[in-house]
């Protein structure tokens, strides 16, 4: 298993754990009153789970298992693939901080942080698509 895949999979497992912890806290909101910043975090819960956990797990395994491009560069541009890792995880962390923050107290720094997270996440997704596309082939 390549080193980058190990990083994707470990980060995915951490996101899954964090998502389920946050989901548990949000569930507590049915019996106790949560701080407003936590009550505003349900989009963060969904995205930690589906993007940080499930999609990142798929991305890591696809990078490892999809048909190789060539003998010299079996998986394509590794630098760009590391960029996907950092953009995806950095964008998610930034989003997890800024999205509830904007919901309860829309300071300019939180708004700019949220916009930056949107840009980094879109960049991560599009770069990954560009990397995997040529590896979807017959042999």
């Amino acid at each position: 298993m390549p080193r980058l895949t190990r990083w994707f999979l470990r980060a995915a497992l951490i996101h899954l754990i964090l998502a389920l912890l946050l989901g548990w806290l949000l569930g507590l909101g049915r019996i106790v009153e949560l701080p407003p910043v936590l009550a505003a975090a349900s989009p963060v819960y969904f995205h930690l789970f589906m993007l940080g956990g499930v999609a990142q797990f798929i991305i890591g395994v696809a990078w490892w298992m999809f048909p190789p491009l060539s003998k010299e560069r079996p998986r394509g541009n590794e630098t760009l693939a590391w960029a996907v890792f950092f953009l995806l995880n950095g964008g998610l962390i930034l989003r997890a901080i800024c999205e509830p923050w904007v919901a309860v107290d829309p300071q300019p720094i939180a708004r700019w942080g949220l916009l930056l997270s949107a840009l980094t996440l879109v960049a991560a997704g599009w770069i990954f698509v560009g990397l995997l596309w040529p590896r979807v082939k017959g042999r």
Partner: protein, 138 residues
């Protein structure tokens, strides 16, 4: 990788790119409200990423790597391929219908799209069911 897997995985990557773009537009709107209509794309975002990307990628890979009927049916090693092709059409038609109808605020179209997606999953289950078995190596 067989042709249907290639089509399914490429469509899944297309839905991923579109779903991420829509998600980015909605997140940017939360940061600096600039176009309220962007939030109407939420059903498209959800259907593209849950069904178009996650489910379709899993189906494309399953069609490729699950055990085949190479000995029993050499001419039709994956068996009942028509159901898998039907699933490909239904899933993508469903995501497109649900996304467009959701953006237009047309509830019936959204329900129709979700129905097509459900039929797509059913068709793939019919295809894959007999392939969920131990691999025969000789």
């Amino acid at each position: 990788m067989p042709p249907l897997s290639r089509y399914m995985i490429r469509m899944a990557l297309g839905h991923l790119a579109l779903g991420f773009l829509i998600g980015g537009l909605m997140l940017a709107h939360k940061a600096f409200p600039y176009a309220p209509w962007v939030m109407r794309l939420l059903p498209w975002h959800i259907h593209a990423l849950f069904i178009g990307w996650t489910v379709q990628l899993a189906f494309g890979v399953a069609y490729w790597i699950f055990p085949r009927f190479a000995l029993e049916r050499p001419g039709d090693p994956r068996g009942r391929a028509g159901w898998a092709w039907a699933s490909f059409g239904l899933l993508n038609a469903g995501v497109l219908s649900a996304g467009l109808a959701g953006a237009a605020g047309w509830g019936i179209g959204l329900a129709l799209g979700a129905g097509l997606e459900a039929l797509g999953v059913l068709a793939f289950a019919i295809h894959l069911w007999p392939r969920v078995r131990p691999a025969i190596l000789q």
